[in-house]
Each structure stands twice: as C-alpha cells, then as structure tokens.
Amino acid sequence: MRGVTIAKTNSLLARLARGPLLTLLLALAPADASPADRPRVVATTPDLAAIVRAVGGDAVAVTSLARAGEDPHFVDPRPSFVSTLNRADVLVEGGASLESGWLAPLVQNARNARIVPGAPGYVAAATGLTLRDVPASLDRAMGDVHPQGNPHFMLDPVAARQVAANIAAGLCAADHSRCGEHSARLKSFQTDLDARLSAWQARLAPWKGTRIVTYHNGLDYFAARFGLVVAGTLEPKPGIAPPPAHLTGLVATMRAQGVALVVVESYRERRNPDFVAQSSGATLVSLSTMPDGDGANAYTELLEEMIASIVTALERRPK
C-alpha cells in the first residue's frame, strides 16, 4: 500500500519535472550558465569591451555595462548590473574615475570577491599609463576633476595598446590555461594597431596643428596623438554645462585663432555646438566616441571612422 503511494508520488514528480516545473527552472537558471569554461568578463564601457574581445577572442564572454552612444559619466546603475557583476570572473574598469558616479555601489553589492579591487579578476585599464591633467589639488571649483587625471585615454591608440596588455594580464590571471592564446592575440592586435596608427597619422599629417574646439575634455588624448590642437571647450570646466557668456568668449577666441572644427561626442546636445560653429565659421563634426557592435575589430573601426569624419570635414572646408 505504502509502496504504491510512493510510486504514485514519483510519477507525479516526474511529470511535473518534465512539464511546467522544468520550464520554470530553465527560465530561472542563469542565461549564460552554459559556457562554464569561458570566463565571463564585464567591461564598464564599450571601448574596454572591444579591447577585451580583441584580446580574449572566443575564449571569453564579454559584456559592457555602459552602451555605445551613452555618456559614460552618467550611466544609470541599473539593478541588473548587480546580477551581471555577481557572475563576472573579470571586471575591466577605466581606473581613472570615469565611472565614479555609478560603479562602486554596484561592485560592492555584487558580493563577488573575484572582481573587487585588488583581486586577480580586477583590471584597471589605466595601469601603467601617465595620464594628462592630473590635478595639483582637488578643487571642485575647477569643475569635475578626477584625482587620477583625464580619464578619456581610450581614444589614444598608444594608450589602447597598453590597456590591451593590462587586459591580457587580467584574462590570463582568470584562466591560466589560455594565457598563450591571449598573448598571441594581444601581439597581433598591437601589430595591427601600430600599422594603422602610422596610416592614421599620415592621413592627418597635412592637417597638423589644426585647431579644434571640443565639448568636454574627452578628445584631448586623441587630438594630441594626431597633431590637432584643442583651442577650447564648450564646457568652461570639465563637467560644467556651457554658460552663454563662456560661449560668446569662445566664439571670439575661435575667430581669432581660426578654429576649423567643433568636434562633439554624438550624445551631446546640439544647440550650443551649432551656435558656436555657426557664429565662428567652424564646421561641426559629431562623432561616436565608443565602438558600437561586437566585432573583434570594433576598436580600430571606431578610430578609423573618427579619423575619416575629421578628414572629410577638413577637406570639405573652403580653403
């Protein structure tokens, strides 16, 4: 009698397991649980994710928290990021406070000892770089200055070269068995970048010393690398919205110095850049400054596009 009851229960359970219960369990299970052998890498911004893809290839699964086209200073710390970080094996962040407005509480709440600062799975991309504009003193009257310096180093291919090496080191620490693979891919990424860098510099060589105005100090590294001179920014100080009086002064400076381009990130408002460009006779160029898409060459394609837009804008200007 007893045995019969048990058998009945078993068959009920089995039916449940095959039916809706199984479906429910599958739905609840972590979506990316299957590739257990691939380390999960979370990058804070798409440019870092692109480098991870270039170095890690298929050996890693990469997610970027910020999305392309988003102002990386003001990313919403969506709760889903906590769950993403909870399962991460490696976290790649800029390391120069670009993400200071949103990242720290997410990492703290993720309860993941593998990715906290100091752990092997934590990579600060800026390690080994000498950053521009390191403030002599921390004074908010100077705007939103970051203690480590200007964090927009990723638009300099030479910095990206070093970042790729840092990321390779982090990936290697997370999965020793794949170190050789990562090293090989790092080498080919760097070789490719070196070749492209020469070509890019050659393309911009005729425009050496051209003066540009940017919105934020986000293009300083890029300009310095390619021989452009940033004559001013729409923001009077980093992170401070442009006041009209500053823009009037900026227009005067631009006219006096013959500034050719106003280069702004695509996510910026366009009213003020339009006004400044029109009043000064400069050409407005709106650029993506983060790679979009998840190809292995996303980073070099981004630089390629940026340089093409700038060269096109310069060539179209009346001499």
Partner: protein, 511 residues
Amino acid sequence: MQPAFRGRWGAPALTAFTLTMTTPLEAAAQTNQELLRAMRSMEQRILQLEHKVRTQDELIETLRNTEDTEGAARAAGSASGDPASPATVQPASASPATVQPASASPATVQPASASPATVQAASAWPATVQPASAPWSPSQPIPLLSGSRGYLNLSLVGIVDAGWSTRRDPTRIQLGDHDPIRRGFSLPSEELVLEGAVDPYFRAAASIVFHLDEHNQTEVELEELFLVTTSLPWNLQLKAGQFLAEFGRVNQQHPHAWDFVDVPLIAGRVLGPEGLRNPGARLSYLLPTPFYAELALAVHNSEGGKAYSFRNEEALFGRDADVGDPHSAGDLLYVPRLASSFEVGDEHTVLAGVSGAFGPNASGHDTDTQIYGFDLYWKWKPVSHDGGFPFLAWQTEAMVRRYEAGQVVDLGLPRQTLEDYGVYSQIVYGPARRWVTALRGEWVDGDHGASPSDESTARRVRISPNLTFHPTEFSKVRLQYNYDHSAALESDHSLWLQTEFLLGAHAAHRF
C-alpha cells in the same frame, strides 16, 4: 597657469602690507589710490607674463606632438622588422610569465607603483600618453596628489530651506523631521558622511546629522552607522548597526536623494517622522536569477521614535503607551523585503519591491503592528543621453498599516484593530541637462482612533509640483509648492525653496 595666478594675488597683498606699515593713518585715502594704481600696473604686468607663458606652453605642446608622432612612427615602422627597436619590448605580451607580474598589482593606477613589467613597457614604448620625462612647464600640474585616495570618503551634505506656509505652525502639516518645518528658514538636515572600506572583509559608513529644531536649537543624531560584509559566500551580505530599514523606496533614501523637499505623507504617518530605522542587523541574499532579485530580512529593536508604529513612547490612535522591555525575540521588529528589477527594451528599467514591518506596539498587552508596502520605480532614459538627460521617472508607493490598539478603560476605548493606508505617486522629468521638474500626488486615509478629528489620521490629499535646477551634480536649487487639504485642517498652501550642496567625496548614485 597656477603659479601666475597665485602671484597675482600674492604680490598686491605684500604691497598693501608694506604701505600700511609706512604711511600715517590720515593719508589712508591717498594710500588707497596709490595701492590701486600699483595693483593695476602689477595686474598688467602679470597679464603680459601670463600671455608669455601661454605662448611658451603652446610651443612646448607643439614640440611634444612632433616628438610623439615621430617616436610612434619610428616604433610602428620598426615593429615589422628591426629587432633592436624599442617596439619589440612590448608590454607584457611575450609570454604568460611576463603577463603574470602585471596582474600582481592590478589595482594600482599610477605607473610609479605598477609592476616592473608595466613600467618597462611604459618607458620602452616611446609614445606614452604624456611622456613622464618631458621637461616641467608651468602649465604642467604638480602631481602631489596624483591618484592618491584616502582611507575614507568624507562628505558634508548641506540643505537650507526657506519658505512660507498658510499654516502658522508648519510642523502640523509637514510630517518629516527633515522637512522644512517653519515659516522663514529651516536647516533640516546637515549630514556628515564617513564611508569606506574597513579591511578586505567589511565596509562601514556613518552619517551624523545636524539639524535645527523649531526653536533653532541644534540637534545631533546618529542617523546611520553600520558595517556591511563584502565577502560572504553564497551571495549573502550581512549589515549590522543602525541603518534605515529597507522598507519601500523613500525610507531608504537620505533627504538629499529625495525628489521633493519633504517626505511623502504616508511614509511620515506609518514609518514616522524620522523614518523607520533602529539598531539591528540585516541579511540579504542576491538570487542567482538572470534578472536582478534580492531578498532581505532585517531584525531591528522595536522601541523608540524611530520605530514609530511600534514600541514608541508616543501613543498612536489616542492610546497610552507602555513601552516596557522586550520579553522574547518576538518583541523585536522584523523587516522583510523582496525587490526585483528588469529592463523593457533598451530604454526602460523597472524596479519593484514588496516590504513588510512586523513587531509589537506599545498600546497594550500583546498588541502588534503590521505594515505592508509596495513600491514601483520606472525609469525611461534614452541610450543616447547627455549628462544623464533627458529622463522620465515614475515612482509610486503604497502602504497599509494594521495597528492592534489596546484597551483604555478610563477613556472607554475598546481593544480594536485599526487600519490606515495611503499612496503617493510622482513623475520626475528631466528635459535637458540641469533641469528637472516633478509632480507628486498623495492621498492618505483610514480608521480613526479616539477622535474622528485627529489630525494624524484624518483623510488628506496633497499635490506638489516642483522645479529643480542643478548647476552641477554637487548642488541644486529647488522650488516647490504644496497644496494640502486635510479633513481636520482644511486647505493649506506652502511654498518652499531649497538649496543643497555637497562638499567632499561624491557618493555614487543608486538606482
């Protein structure tokens, strides 16, 4: 330009000092004239010098660019062939063995402290981002504080309110302790926050709040002080100390995170003027689901004004309070919460939660209070945004309180269970960088206690539009109007202006 700037103010000050020493007092006016002239000429000179320095800077920049370009080109050119060139000394790429040292100190941001491999890479590659070996120039910052971080983050959040209400004593209609509470000026919440990592296992935070009461006397309170674990296994996290109970949404927020100058009516009524917070401990579990889901259970002490609906010295519903001592674990306050979040498309994020607060109250023997809450936060923000704008956020919270009120023989009050409830719903819209406008509607109602005209339980409706200007994310100015209608007090109108500033470390935003 830093040294020039300093000189500009330093030199006239010195001149002023010399002149005051040597000139008699009667000639003060004349001295001022001279001083002015001296200052003007000095300023001229300084401007000239500044100009000169600027020109030199540009020259240096140009030279540096040339140098960089040439260096990089040389290196890039040689990467394909010449083995003796610096480009072959590639950063940590040769073998796993060289890769590892770099990962040994991944937390360091500055090259000075980085491992030998990275330093070597940085110096071997001719075009580091800004060559450290470049000659010093006046425009080049002195890296005294480069990358240094303190052991703790220190900040002060100051709020100054000013305004007027048709209600002579606004404390009767403003329910929160950190609301503007009087005609004229209020300093409702001046918060000193200390926060940081204790060691690899704990983080800790304290927030000490100063505020002026209705007699302008300074009150100091330890609003929060807690320790939270960072490395418990199984997705667990333990928090201990005094902290804002994780009940709903607004109760967990400090005043500077509010979208309005005051606390919602329902929160003020059932969670109390100071918010629900008491010494206790909380264990939370992050569910291993693909979406965010967190389950938390907190245990707090149940006595005092910060456990307003529980063993509070202040009687609710016209009852006498007898706090007494807790007899068993059942006399503590239990606060469970389940929160979950998901994304709708690329632009919408929804966060919803259910909370409860269960514990004894002081109105009689074996009398308990249960509070249930539901909260919903829905935020729209396009993928492409400038400084976090534009955005639209909708937030709603509903709470129900079930209060078992004890018998009061003298007043003829029976033992009875009283229920009251309320809801607020708010829309916050940020059309463009710096500007945020919001509208909140509220309604509270429920059973009355001893007297039907009791202000604290009367039906009330409040409508509050406001407009906030954020010069930066460290300061704001807010203007809010409240239309308030209470069944016990008739209609009131209030207008509040709030300014807020943040000094020191900028705590990251929470969702």
